[in-house]
């Protein structure tokens, strides 16, 4: 008998790429891919968390060609994907490059092969942050994020004067930009006292639960 399927209609080609996995889904049993996605490699981690397959990157460099920070990075976006493919964990995670990403998403918008480098970099940063409380992140970046999150936890909102002061304390760069403070004050752009929201207990609950969820996820 002649095959019935496809007589005068469009045949979907057989999926070879692995079925898409929704974000957060950790099992990939539906996938036809034989690529490693359960092991402990960086690629497997990225795939488990995001459903993105780092092996898709074919190193065209379009991400790095459009990256505003490429000129300052040791590892450009396409290098990041390459190092994941090669599982060079130490080399990739210890450097500053990951933290120079501005998440402007230009790479993701233009990636021809839908690798979503911005999301991949986010995932790696989260991983570094979680593994040792941000110790892997460069000092000034760590200081910024710590001050920022502490502020939210304490007040529910960002109180920029306090944020800047906290950041400066942590980095020790007390005097850079210090000249801007009077101008900011004069223009009414800096409040001197923080606003605290009423539902602070809610905010603390959110922080605690989210931190706990991360730890749970780590345990097998």
């Amino acid at each position: 008998m002649p095959p019935l399927a496809g007589q005068g209609r469009c045949l979907e080609s057989v999926p070879w790429r692995g079925a898409p996995v929704s974000p957060g889904e950790t099992t990939l049993e539906v996938s036809v891919s034989h690529n490693d996605h359960t092991g402990s490699t960086l690629a497997a981690h990225v795939r488990q968390v995001t459903g993105l397959n780092p092996a898709r990157c074919y190193q065209c460099g379009k991400c790095s060609a459009g990256c505003p920070m490429a000129a300052e990075m040791d590892f450009r976006p396409h290098d990041v994907l390459r190092l994941i493919q090669q599982d060079k964990r130490e080399q990739l995670l210890s450097g500053e490059s990951l933290w120079l990403c501005l998440t402007c998403e230009t790479c993701t918008a233009r990636c021809p092969n839908e690798c979503d480098p911005a999301r991949v970099i986010d995932t790696l940063r989260e991983m570094v942050w979680r593994d040792n409380g941000g110790a892997g992140a460069p000092r000034h970046i760590r200081a910024f994020h710590k001050s920022f999150l502490k502020q939210i936890r304490r007040s529910g909102r960002i109180f920029e004067f306090g944020l800047v002061a906290g950041y400066k304390m942590r980095t020790g760069s007390l005097f850079s930009d210090v000249g801007a403070v009077p101008g900011m004050l004069k223009r009414g752009k800096l409040a001197l006292t923080p606003t605290r929201i009423k539902g602070l207990d809610e905010i603390r609950r959110i922080f605690d639960k989210c931190a706990a969820a991360e730890t749970d996820a780590e345990e097998p």
Partner: protein
């Protein structure tokens, strides 16, 4: 009483590794009606087939079941073996214990159990098989070739030279296709028109080729050997009998600024026009969308305006009143050769899953052109007479940047595949440019250079080594206007450095896509296509020029991106298939078709409504006195493809698919 023989194949290790074949043979031996059951390493080998033949003779088998691979592989082999031993071949069937069992399972015990079940299923069916005789149908030994680019021309010439008549249909006013637009061809740099035009003339003059330009296939009926095709001959508005191609009408036409399709929009043409000087046939056509007279007519003006071509024509060949004509032709085989178009980077896209390149300016930067436009710039017959001039101001560009893979290998824009020709033609472009502009820079941004083909890689190397093309490995992120230049933001992945440069002109190797409207034509012809619109071949390796509709073949870039040598090779292959088909006066075909029981059919014609092939006809049943008793369904066995939809639909169970009757199928299912 059935006497069935079961033959279990190990297929080397393919089946034997996962399935205990000896155990399967032993188990099958105990099925009711099975009188012979053996296993063997390679059933398809000569000794294997011999076992089947001998068993048929010695044990007087009434049916044979071979438990082996897919029937797609070896059903023919085993049926022939059965026939050689005197058994009707349709009493021999296969149980697929390879693709359906050993290849997809790991647990040996469970796979063996499944193999036994699969074989039992077929044994029960074969017990109820009836001998069938192949159907003979006559062959109309004329061919239709759709599309008269290089593939269509080649196929038509080969079939015609083989002694058969060909109707060559082309939707454009001239034959020649894209090849007529090219300047030079890789990897030899010979002039495209110089090698093509003799073939065009040959096709035009061939006594067995009937050329139908400015025509399209309207509909198709029938089946292999017996197609009836209706062709729409679009109104040319010029009488092709009277016209002598003098060109006076073109000179007289006042509408002179229409972007020429042949020059990829870089040149201009008139409203009555011959697309290019060597066009075949050399008969103009009136573009009714742009002609002043037709525009006025559409606006409902009574007065006849313009008509300068009419006055200029000395032979009264202009015919404004001409209408489309529908012509029906009988053919036995069809070659599908409709070719390609280039992907446009614009915001508007012909298919929903495609998107344009906003990062490259959506095609709105004037000095960003595509590969075909560069061909026209480089061509001696082009709008610049072969001088490389950029479109915005006619300046000779001193830096030309070439981008490969624009659209191709870009799933985000909707195209996954490699367009295959671009690596080669971009290398050619760099050479042509450097040969014409010695001081100019030719910079190519590429991802990979894919130059598999005789003399191909050498050609690319020559572009780099001898003609000074600069190759940069990286995809460009953005193009934008910077003064009168185009800013190119790229990255050199080999040196690891960002690379920004200003170009005078950018040439993009945009992806190869099937012609617009290919889906609707494929639907008319009942051939399948992939999600990009390319026609599917029947088998990617073994049936590269057949489609899955018998009698329809495919050649050239409508099947996948093809360069000239590939397209020509495919065309000749398709032609040889057509000639092979035409070497017989009659065709044999599979008798597994539907049959209506005249006594029980109530004439509800559900079957007619569901039949995808239009195979159900009406039969008037009359008594001896000629009085009409009832009208019932009848299946045209030439058209029926044996899909079984009618059988599943019939409320009175009056349709049976021969070889797959309800009795056979239910018995098989009940055995599980």
């Amino acid at each position: 009483m059935a006497r069935i023989g079961v033959f279990v194949c190990h297929c080397g290790e393919n089946i034997g590794r996962t399935v205990d074949c000896a155990q399967v043979a032993e188990a099958c031996g105990s099925f009711p009606g099975v009188v012979h059951s053996v296993d063997y390493k390679y059933m398809c080998s000569d000794p294997g087939q011999l076992q089947i033949k001998e068993a048929i003779k010695e044990k007087g088998l009434t049916g044979v079941v071979v438990a082996a691979c897919s029937p797609h592989m070896h059903e023919k082999t085993f049926r022939k073996a059965a026939a050689a031993a005197g058994l009707n071949p349709f009493l021999c069937e296969m149980a697929n214990i390879r693709e359906h069992c050993s290849w997809i399972h790991e647990d040996r015990a469970r796979a063996t159990a499944k193999a036994i079940d699969l074989t039992r299923f077929i044994v029960e069916k074969v017990k109820r098989n009836q001998p069938l005789v192949p159907i003979s149908i006559p062959v109309e030994r004329r061919a239709l070739v759709i599309g008269a680019g290089i593939a269509g021309i080649q196929a038509a010439l080969d079939i015609a030279d083989g002694g058969r008549e060909v109707i060559l249909v082309e939707k454009e006013p001239s034959i020649g296709g894209h090849m007529s637009q090219l300047s030079e061809t890789f990897p030899t740099l010979d002039c495209s028109q110089c090698i093509l035009t003799p073939r065009m003339v040959e096709a035009f003059q061939h006594p067995r080729i009937k050329l139908m330009t400015y025509s399209e296939v309207e509909s198709l009926e029938g089946y292999i050997g017996n197609f009836a095709v209706t062709i729409r001959k679009k109104a040319r508005s010029v009488d092709d009998e009277l016209c002598n191609g003098c060109g006076d009408c073109q000179s007289a036409c006042p509408v002179k600024k229409i972007p020429s399709e042949f020059d990829a929009g870089l040149g201009k043409r008139t409203a009555i026009y011959v697309p290019f000087p060597q066009a075949v046939p050399n008969i103009p056509v009136i573009d009714r969308e742009r002609c002043t007279r037709f525009k006025a007519m559409r606006k409902g003006k009574k007065k006849e305006v313009c008509g300068r071509c009419l006055k200029a024509c000395g032979r009264e060949a202009i015919d404004f009143a001409q209408e489309d004509r529908l012509i029906t032709e009988k053919v036995g085989a069809i070659v599908f050769a409709t070719g390609y178009q280039l992907y446009s980077i614009g915001e508007e896209q012909p298919r929903e899953h495609l998107s344009g390149y906003g990062e490259y300016g959506y095609g709105e930067i004037p000095d960003v052109i595509d590969g075909m436009q560069f061909e026209r710039l480089a061509s001696a017959s082009g709008p610049t007479g072969g001088r490389i001039e950029r479109p915005s101001d006619g300046k000779e560009p001193e830096t030309v940047v070439f981008l490969q893979c624009v659209g191709s290998r870009d799933p985000q824009k909707g195209i996954d595949y490699c367009s295959k020709l671009c690596c080669m033609y971009i290398a050619k472009h760099t050479m042509l440019y450097r040969h014409k502009v010695h001081h100019g820079r030719a910079v190519v941004f590429y991802m990979d250079v894919r130059a598999g083909g005789k003399g191909y890689d050498e050609f690319v190397r020559r572009a780099v080594e001898e003609d000074g093309a600069e190759y940069v490995r990286g995809r460009v992120s953005r193009l934008y206007r910077a003064g009168d230049k185009v800013r190119v933001c790229g990255f050199d992945t080999l040196s690891g450095e960002p690379l920004e440069m200003d170009a005078d002109m950018v040439v993009m190797a945009t992806a190869i896509q099937p012609q617009p409207g290919i889906e609707s034509l494929a639907q008319k012809l009942s051939v399948s296509y992939d999600k990009s619109g390319f026609i599917n071949e029947a088998h990617p390796k073994l049936k590269p020029v057949e489609t899955n509709t018998a009698g329809i073949y495919v050649a050239g870039a409508c099947q996948a991106p093809r360069d000239i040598p590939d397209a020509v090779a495919m065309a000749s292959a398709a032609a040889s298939k057509v000639l092979g088909l035409f070497s017989n006066e009659e065709l044999e075909r599979d008798p597994c078709v539907a049959q209506v029981d005249e006594t029980t059919c109530s004439g509800c014609f559900h079957c007619e409504r569901v039949c995808p092939y239009g195979a159900v006809e009406h039969l008037e049943v009359r008594d001896r006195g000629g009085n009409l008793i009832k009208v019932i369904a009848k299946v045209n066995q030439g058209v029926c493809q044996g899909c079984g939809t009618c059988q599943a639909t019939c409320p009175s169970k009056s349709v049976e698919l021969l070889g797959f009757t309800d009795a056979q199928i239910f018995a098989a299912i009940n055995s599980l």
